[in-house]
């Protein structure tokens, strides 16, 4: 019956979230055996210089709560910590520092830049764009605001706007960032090969660029090479990025995905050893563990489920849907659940990886019609990617039986 089937589909979609029914949060509490037992390790000690500096600024603020410059300095420091640690709590602390400035900082470009960054971080993209524009209205040479806008436009797939920001900021920023910005847009809009060549030249010429930027450029080059079906070149770019000696989980994740695609899961196990704490990397570990039949694979999958559950408990917290769909598809091997999540995800997140997981789920679930939105994007954007193109042709060849999602009345 329609209603029942409808509910069942819903339940399938929530299959992952449903694991939270056995509440992660309500496991049995315990009393540690003795006072010396360490119950929690902090990412940074209070004696860490970066923490001490911001703590001392906070003490000054207690004496001068109206000092706008001090508040902005504190927020900046917290953003630095967020950048270094990848921990959203610091963004929250930064937001708390500038919140009291809301009604008296209308002429402060730094306030608007920081507010835009906070808003971006909670995915309030339109508000963030307004704030970042205000920063430039006050200070037309604030390249940071332009760079953040370019990033937001890219996420929103508004490529013309992104291109304009890249052009505008080019004379104000590191040449490698300018080249990366424009290569990034071009690679998404039908100019993959020339964009790849340009970025390659820019990286070779970038002697003094910050290593973080070099790492980013090399990782993007590796991805472009993959899209161009040049795995050897991709691997060389990955190696070059890793040699910079900076720990970057996005690089590790991209390289792990590359190795998984190349059927080299054993190398992923080595690359990601001890990285269980990162959600992004735990998924790759679970996949590699499954492929190598490692004894820890089941425990990793269980941990991953718990983290999806914890994330979905926050309402509207849908940041993990792309990974959740991939997890359902590749670890749980539940194509229907994966398709439900991927289709839901694609309503809000329309980046290439979101399209890819939707296409793969639709194929696995034998429901090619469900991939239509992703196929339409692929046609219209002229996004070049050999793998996506192959998925598209497989979908086109798949029998159109039971076309509409689900099939049952």
């Amino acid at each position: 019956m329609l209603s029942l089937v409808f509910r069942k589909r819903w339940l399938a979609a929530l299959a992952l979230a449903a694991t939270l029914a056995s509440p992660v949060s309500q496991a049995a509490p315990y009393t540690p055996a003795n006072d010396a037992e360490v119950v929690e390790r902090l990412p940074l000690s209070a004696s860490d210089p970066s923490i001490r500096r911001v703590d001392s600024l906070r003490k000054q603020l207690a004496a001068r709560p109206d000092d706008a410059a001090l508040r902005i300095e504190i927020a900046r420091r917290y953003f630095d910590l967020a950048g270094a640690q990848g921990d959203p709590r610091y963004v929250g602390y930064a937001a708390a520092a500038i919140t009291p400035l809301a009604d008296r900082a209308a002429d402060n470009a730094s306030y608007w830049l920081l507010l835009g960054m906070v808003q971006q971080y909670s995915h309030e993209f339109d508000k963030a764009l307004v704030s970042l524009h205000r920063a430039n209205d006050i200070n037309p040479r604030d390249a940071d605001a332009m760079a953040w806008r370019a990033a937001i436009y890219m996420v929103q797939a508004r490529y013309d706007k992104a291109r304009a920001e890249c052009t505008q900021m080019a004379p104000l920023v590191d040449p490698l960032l300018a080249a990366g910005c424009s290569a990034y847009v071009r690679a998404a809009t039908g100019e993959l090969a020339p964009a790849y060549a340009d970025l390659r030249r820019a990286l070779d010429a970038a002697g003094n660029a910050p290593p973080e930027l070099k790492l980013w450029a090399a990782t993007r080059l590796a991805e472009m090479a993959q899209r161009l079906q040049q795995p050897a070149a991709a691997e060389a770019h990955f190696k070059r990025a890793l040699q910079l000696g900076i720990t970057d989980q996005f690089l590790l994740a991209a390289y792990a995905d590359f190795l998984l695609q190349q059927q080299r899961p054993a190398e992923v196990m080595v690359l990601l050893a001890d990285w269980e704490r990162s959600d992004v990397l735990l998924l790759r570990l679970a996949l590699a563990g499954q492929a190598t039949k490692d004894s820890r694979a089941t425990a990793w999958a269980k941990q991953m489920r718990e983290r999806f559950a914890a994330a979905s408990e926050r309402s509207g917290q849908r940041l993990h849907e792309q990974e959740a769909a991939r997890f359902a598809l590749e670890v749980d091997r539940n194509a229907r659940a994966a398709l439900e999540i991927a289709a839901d995800n694609y309503k809000t997140q329309k980046e290439p990886r979101d399209a890819e997981v939707l296409m793969r789920s639709a194929l696995a679930a034998n429901t090619p019609a469900a991939a239509q939105p992703a196929l339409a994007w692929l046609r219209e954007s002229r996004y070049e990617d050999a793998r996506l193109a192959q998925l598209a042709s497989q979908l086109a060849a798949a029998p159109a039986a039971a076309a509409s999602a689900g099939g049952k009345p």
Binding site: L2, N34, L42, S45, D87, L177, A310, G407, K408
Partner: protein, 378 residues
């Protein structure tokens, strides 16, 4: 741009993970509030991340980045005071008072260790609801959330609420839903489920289509009077209602249970049979018997919907009656639209051939497809 902020920007410009730029979970606390019928007390379990407590209370005294149980235990009173001063419960404008109901403990969540507080709030006057005002950590981290499971008195299921900076004050409905609210809720569900349950509607329509026709000289002709059509419709609808009420009740009370795939397949088959019988050249004088026999099946189908909805254990009969009444009201609404239309059109070629025969064929085909799907779980 500082180098670390550059990292944030570049992380965002990493399309692969743009949706997942947050590699860590933001700050949340977890609350379970439980009230019992007739008691002025609300029992609370509150899990707060040690990292968050460290940020506001500096638990890590020796600043070695490792929080020991001793460092937590010695600050238990501070932690409890900090927590209770940031959650105000009030009933009828009178504040509830906090007391500790057990020693502070530790629990591991997916993102680290949490202090577990066992508390009791005693409320002087009980009203319809408890007003809750949550302010934990909001002053230092506006992205913090309090995730609440609220168990109202007499209720077995928890209700989820989220406290955020823009939803810091919320009302916890103290009374379990009243009998009237339960009844109304299930009536609405019943109406809704007959309307979106296409197989039930088609079954009913297949039986009702011939009600405005009569077989004469080997031909279908329109009935003479509205009254005879009405009587026929009433017979069918009443038989269907009686039958599915019986099985719905039996299944909902778990006296009889049948596998859902079997039931769903049989329901699809009943639609096929009902539609095909219209195409036979004879008057099925005993359509109400078919309505009764197959109605028994459809009742099992409704029961599985009701099972999905969940039945309140303390108001089982009420919910059951409400759902049944809703189904009948939904059916009557369909009949009220169908009958006058069909009666007006009954003598036309459009009705006798297009709607009656063509419609029956379509219904039979569609239901056959459902039958295949359900049998073979396509």
């Amino acid at each position: 741009m500082s180098r670390t902020v550059l990292r944030l920007l570049l992380a965002m410009l990493t399309l692969v993970f743009a949706g997942l730029a947050q590699a860590h979970k933001p700050s949340d606390s977890y609350l379970t509030l439980r009230a019992t019928t007739g008691s002025p007390e609300i029992v609370v379990r509150w899990d707060i991340a040690l990292r968050d407590l460290d940020y506001v209370l500096q638990l890590d005294r020796d600043t070695n980045a490792a929080i020991t149980w001793g460092e937590v235990r010695q600050r238990a009173d501070d932690i409890t005071r900090y927590a209770t001063s940031n959650l105000q419960l009030a009933s009828k404008d009178q504040a509830c008072s906090w007391r500790s109901a057990g020693p502070l403990m530790i629990d591991k969540h997916s993102d680290g260790a949490y202090a577990v507080l066992s508390l009791v709030a005693t409320c002087p006057a009980l009203g319809e609801a408890v007003q809750a005002r949550y302010s934990l950590l909001f002053d230092v981290d506006p992205s913090h959330r309090g995730l609440v499971q609220w168990v109202a008195p007499g209720s077995s299921a928890a209700q989820a609420l989220i406290f955020g900076t823009s939803s810091a004050s919320q009302s916890l409905a103290f009374a379990a839903p009243s009998a009237w609210q339960t009844l109304r809720q299930y009536v609405v569900e019943g109406v809704w489920h007959i309307w979106i349950g296409f197989d039930h509607i088609l079954f009913l329509l297949a039986l009702l289509l011939p009600a405005v026709l009569v077989r004469r000289d080997g031909q279908w002709q329109g009935v003479e009077s509205f009254r005879s059509a009405l009587v026929e419709v009433l017979k069918v609808v009443t038989a269907f209602t009686l039958a599915h009420s019986i099985t719905l009740s039996l299944a909902a009370l778990e006296v009889v249970t049948l596998p859902s795939r079997l039931v769903e397949s049989a329901i699809a088959a009943s639609v096929v049979v009902a539609a095909l019988s219209n195409l036979r050249g004879k008057t099925a004088s005993r359509r109400w018997m078919m309505a009764f026999a197959f109605g028994l099946l459809h009742g099992f189908g409704f029961a599985s919907v009701l099972a999905d909805l969940g039945l309140p254990q303390n108001a089982l009969v009420l919910a059951l009656v409400g759902f049944n009444v809703g189904v009948e009201l939904g059916q009557l609404a369909i009949v009220a639209v169908f009958l006058p239309l069909a009666f007006v059109l009954r003598a036309s070629w459009f009705y006798r051939t297009g709607v009656f025969k063509g419609g029956s064929i379509l219904v039979a085909l569609l239901a056959s497809w459902w039958l295949v799907q359900r049998l073979f779980d396509l």
